[in-house]
Symmetry: C2
Subunit: 315 residues, 2 copies
């Protein structure tokens, strides 16, 4: 039995979009998977009723508080002890659920992860990892996209390992190519941080290092499956990539490729390096984004992603 925890109160359109997304996911999850919704039971029941869905197919854990998007993450996580996020994380830490997904307050999700399940031993800093479309029709992965905005080179090195394991097990790509986002392809290019990280990665056997990659080459898929950057740079690249979708749309361009920059296709952003599968969704997640986030969480549980990372660090 796999149990996926879902924060029914997280996101700009909660609980409606979350419940609708969970209903959509229900039709696609494995027979032995249970969806556990954390939130206001009467509101969840009402959304199920409105959608003509039997709420008894979910497990609902009633919570009376909500951590808002504007709340101070760490404070709210500790003070709002009956919030959907806080109760969800305690369930996760107590193994009552096997993974936890939320489109709510990102900072509170990260605080919850660090306070309860904590980092995997050996992890310097966890990372969040985003998927983006390649011209080949496949996708590639970028990390970190905002968790650690001041990274030392050894953190970047470890991101290479984390990204490699994630893509290997979640996407089934053997020996994925990992590149370091930089401002030139040559070894000597970069700032102090990337130059040092390049040296550390150069001869590694921990992952398949493909060298430096420039931002104009990350979309072809010719060089890499995983792109490593610090959280500041990764976040900038991700937001600019999201802009490409919006700009194309505003120009009335209906391009199959640019449409694939719509984040809704990709579910959420996994927190890598913590002791449980934790996925954070976009605040404005649609039901489809929530559905994908839930399926992604199920997949991470199924492939035992956390064990794979733990084993790699234990070597």
């Amino acid at each position: 039995m796999v149990r996926i925890g879902i924060d029914a109160m997280g996101g700009d359109f909660a609980p409606k979009n979350i419940v609708l997304g969970a209903i959509q996911a229900y039709a696609r999850i494995q027979p032995k998977t249970r969806l556990v919704l954390f939130g206001d039971k009467s509101l969840i029941d009402a959304e199920c009723r409105e959608a003509g869905f039997d709420a008894a197919k979910f497990e609902i854990v009633h919570t009376s508080q909500v951590i808002g998007m504007g709340d101070h993450p760490a404070k709210a996580f500790q003070q709002k002890s009956d919030s959907s996020i806080t109760v969800g994380f305690h369930a996760l830490a107590n193994c009552k659920i096997d993974g936890f997904a939320s489109a709510g307050n990102t900072g509170a999700m990260l605080a919850g992860a660090m306070y309860t399940v904590k980092s995997i031993p050996g992890i310097i800093r966890p990372a969040i990892c985003s998927e983006y479309p390649l011209l080949t029709g496949k996708t590639a992965f970028l990390l970190d996209v905002g968790l650690n905005v001041d990274c030392k080179p050894d953190v970047l090195y470890q991101y290479g390992l984390l990204g490699s394991i994630y893509v290997k097990h979640m996407m089934g790509i053997d020996n994925p190519r990992v590149a370091l986002l930089n401002i030139g392809e040559e070894e000597e290019k970069g700032n102090l941080q990337t130059k040092e990280a390049f040296k550390m990665m150069q001869d590694t056997t921990d992952f398949n290092f493909a060298g430096n990659i420039e931002a104009n080459h990350i979309f072809s898929g010719e060089i890499a499956d995983v792109i490593v950057a610090d959280g500041f740079v990764g976040n900038v690249v991700l937001k600019q990539a999201e802009a490409m979708y919006v700009l194309a749309k505003e120009q009335g361009i209906d391009s199959e490729y640019f449409n694939r920059f719509n984040y809704e296709i990709y579910g959420g952003t996994p927190v890598l390096g913590v002791n449980a599968p934790i996925i954070i969704g976009h605040g404005i997640s649609s039901p489809t984004a929530i559905e994908n986030m839930i399926l992604q969480t199920e997949h991470a549980i199924k492939v035992r992603l956390v064990d794979k990372i733990t084993e790699a660090l234990d070597k």
Copy 2:
């Protein structure tokens, strides 16, 4: 009399594209402007002849050496003393030309600037500044795009001033809005560098600070005319922006907006904070890009850009 120096040997398609660009520019420069080409006289003459253009309309300074794209910038600048770049910079330092433009080895151009005309007093670090298209039909400016990849906050602050002066005088925008590229709009967002830079910029009267800007908002023009970033981040954003043009083209999309991401429209990248107008073009510059680079150099001379920066720092 204004004299614009042009490196006829710089760029992947030199001297052909440079000479053709200079011929195009010749038709558009002011009557009192002279174009001074540095390079192999026989090759320049041959290109003029082939184009049916009277080479005597140019002033040609014969040079026997070329700094290649693969040459070590600083070494080549000093050792190849009869190269077009080295001779050009000495002419600039001796006031025989009023500005210098090249699509050649960027590092050698920067080395030349620092060895000969040098930084304006008070400048911590010069910057290079790129133009990119806004949805409004206008353009905005991003700096630094690659000169200083490890920036202290006070350098970012000064980039705000440099960008503001450049856009005011080159684009005729009074009191241009300057924003700090960051990963959130709120004051407390960012890495150590941007958080500190925000504090320095917050109450400045040196330029019109518009706050933080995220990478997905830089294209609307709603927030800022000038975007400040360190050279690493700025270079990444610029290359990703260039990719947007290429990706659209590869998708067979003929969008007026995405077409405006073609660098050829914008001439070159000015080096701001040095004691002369210096413009560096893309290595693969077309004749039109060269033409625009020359007109941009003329404009910088005409508006006395260097004096404006010097005066602002002298306050």
